[in-house]
């Protein structure tokens, strides 16, 4: 009897999970599928996942006056070359890497000492400071976007990398997450380091940082995903200079095309932009979950 109800319960659980998986994965399926098919197949919604991959003619190429035989190619090749040709996708990706990596590194440099102080040092007003950190977690970015923009504009920093990086360098979420993790590090370890002659800063970098790798990876994924995918802030501070655009901004290049059926190249670009994140997540998956559940220690 119990076995029966159990298996029914399992079945139900899996139905719900499958349903959820479909909702999450369907857009990805569509994205990959569109990035492989020809415009005609996309329009008529035929061709399954990868389309028939028949030789097609690039209309724009003909328009530009090239001989027809040079403009014939398979849809997959067309979509992906168009993605890189129509917008400087590589440039955008480089920008994305530069911005997200600098944000993450500076966040770590700021958050680790803060978290260490909040978790392990006794000083007057510590609880108030930690209260402020919690409070800052509640402030939505959009609420302070305008003042931030005005400040950056007054400093003459709009349309620079600095504008993309500076507002995110202090991550209260990072401070909070690392502080919670540091709380689990035994005090004896820190005292032992002090006896060995380490300064408080050495303790942060030589003792706390290596023990906090799982938490740091979790934070890293949160931070990198958030800033790689961020559309809002780059849209606010990058107003003219196309060379500074990050990948999500770059996607707009396709959207504003006059002939509306350029889904193929656009989806190809999206695929290229999303891939690094998916790969990074899959590689760090286990450490990521460890970090979130904070069971990485002992």
């Amino acid at each position: 009897m119990t076995a029966h109800t159990n298996s029914f319960g399992e079945f139900l659980k899996h139905v719900v999970l499958l349903f959820g998986a479909v909702i999450v994965l369907l857009p990805f399926y569509l994205m990959i599928s569109y990035s492989l098919k020809s415009p005609a197949e996309i329009e008529s919604n035929t061709g399954g996942l990868i389309g028939s991959q028949q030789i097609m003619t690039d209309r724009r190429c003909i328009k530009e006056g090239n001989p027809p035989e040079q403009c014939e190619m398979r849809p997959i090749v067309y979509n992906y070359t168009a993605a890189f040709k129509e917008a400087p996708l590589l440039r955008y990706m480089m920008n994305g890497v530069l911005v997200t990596v600098s944000i993450f590194l500076i966040q770590v440099v700021v958050a680790l000492p803060c978290a260490y102080a909040l978790a392990k040092l006794r000083f007057w007003g510590r609880d108030v400071v930690f209260g402020l950190v919690i409070f800052c977690l509640l402030i939505p970015v959009h609420a302070i976007a305008l003042p931030l923009y005005i400040m950056l504009a007054k400093a003459g920093l709009t349309n620079t990398y600095a504008a993309l990086v500076i507002p995110w360098t202090i991550s209260v979420f990072g401070i909070f997450l690392m502080r919670q993790f540091f709380k689990t590090v035994p005090d004896d370890l820190i005292d032992a380091a002090r006896m060995d002659g380490m300064s408080e800063f050495s303790i942060v970098w030589r003792v706390m940082l290596p023990t906090a790798i799982p938490a740091l990876l979790a934070f890293g994924i949160f931070s990198i995903v958030a800033h790689w995918n961020d559309y809002y802030w780059p849209r606010v501070v990058i107003t003219g200079d196309r060379d500074l655009m990050t990948p999500p901004l770059g996607l707009r290049m396709f959207k504003s095309d006059l002939d509306g059926n350029e889904y193929g190249p656009m989806m190809a670009a999206t695929t290229v932009i999303v891939t690094p994140l998916v790969v990074a997540f899959l590689l760090a998956q286990r450490r990521f979950i460890e970090g979130i559940t904070l069971t990485g220690m002992k």
Partner: protein, 385 residues
């Protein structure tokens, strides 16, 4: 090698006072144990010596110099922690080398990548490598040098923690309950080994434990602390045989000392549970006395006599070499524990009425505040002798 002196040390956390005016002179080269029940302030005292905790009042002196303002690492002390506190991300070799690296290499020589290129670094690293190997050999952990602490057993971690303290050849070792995370057998083994290590190094050891057996077996002198007070300092057998305070007498010794209420008359003659002691008090102290009798100073008697306690046997605790008889006295309020030889204990069974005599001249008498009272042989006893 160093002597350590604590002068009028007090410590409060907020309004809670954890150490009251403690004074100790730790002689160069001695093994001093701070012993007491948990929460008595002994670990805090050790941390104050180490400099990890600041005292609220008083001075810490090392070799005659006041070190109150000196950072822990500059006091030239090494500490072994109860949890061992090894760096989990470094292997055993690196764990042992870390204190030396921090002491002998300068900032740039320790810096990753850049450091390796500096010309002065290589001879220093070779020197510390030799020290690490030597210590590893002394502790028999050479084969573990490549392992991470997570891959070691409790006893092995303990050795590495000791090694990390030894590499610097510190002026004194501070140990905070280093054996309490080990299993019983290994703990007894490590006691002997630590005592041996102390003998061969000749360095001052300050050792904190709540285990009175560790204090009795290892130390040159032991200091008994309770509720932040230093109650008695002395050689282990002095503290055991001649406790100055009832709480010390109760804490040191296993099984615990038997304590019975007693009273004295005008001549200083003490009686407890109907039995008179052979010796008299030096000064009369009135009622409300406590008489302490250690289990080995009591003996099972086959026949009841005037100088015997009588009671009912409730439990026989057989330890193989000795048997401890738990006896409920006939006054109904007190239990005493009596040591007996296994062959004598064989004859009695639980529920029997037994008589218990005491070895004359061994009873310890305490006044109503728990302070020890001096005793002298009574005139009558002297005549008999």
């Amino acid at each position: 090698m160093a002597s350590i002196t604590l002068r009028n040390i007090s410590k409060s956390f907020g309004t809670t006072r954890v150490i009251n005016n403690v004074n100790i002179d730790i002689v160069d080269g001695e093994f001093l144990t701070l012993v007491g029940p948990s929460g008595c302030g002994k670990s805090t005292t050790l941390r104050i010596i180490a400099g990890l905790e600041a005292q609220s009042a008083g001075d810490v002196e090392i070799d005659g110099k006041v070190v109150n303002e000196i950072r822990p690492s500059r006091r030239d002390l090494a500490m072994v922690f109860q949890s061992y506190a090894l760096y989990p991300h470094l292997n055993v070799y690196q764990n042992l080398a870390t204190p030396l690296m921090l002491r002998d290499l300068d900032f740039w020589e320790r810096f990753p990548l850049v450091g390796a290129l500096l010309p002065g670094r290589k001879p220093k690293v070779q020197a510390l490598n030799a020290v690490v190997r030597e210590v590893a050999e002394t502790l028999k952990i050479e084969h573990l040098l490549d392992r991470k602490p997570g891959q070691l057993s409790g006893g092995q971690r303990q050795r590495v923690a000791l090694g990390r303290a030894m590499v610097r050849k510190p002026a004194a070792f501070l140990m905070d309950e280093p054996l309490s995370n080990l299993d019983a057998g290994l703990r007894v083994h490590m006691r002997a080994e630590l005592a041996g290590l102390h003998r061969s190094l000749g360095t001052t050891f300050v050792y904190v434990t709540h285990d009175q057996a560790e204090a009795l077996t290892m130390s040159t002198r032991m200091a008994v602390m309770m509720d932040g007070d230093m109650l008695q300092i002395g050689k282990p057998d002095e503290v055991y045989d001649d406790p100055q305070n009832l709480r010390v007498a109760e804490f040191i010794g296993s099984p615990q000392i038997n304590v019975l209420p007693g009273e004295s008359d005008a001549q200083g003659r003490v009686t407890c549970a109907g039995v008179s002691l052979v010796r008299n008090l030096k000064q009369t102290a009135g009622q409300n006395l406590s008489v302490g009798l250690r289990p080995e100073h009591l003996e099972y008697r086959e026949k009841p006599a005037k100088d015997c306690f009588s009671g009912q046997l409730t439990y026989k605790e057989n330890l193989g070499s000795d048997v401890y008889l738990h006896v409920a006295l006939h006054d109904g309020a007190h239990n005493i524990i009596v040591r007996a030889q296994p062959h004598t204990a064989d004859d009695i069974s639980i529920g029997d009425t037994v008589s218990v005599g005491h070895v004359p001249g061994k009873a310890l008498v305490f006044d109503s505040n728990g302070e020890r009272l001096a005793m002298v042989a009574s005139g009558k006893a002297r005549k008999v002798a």
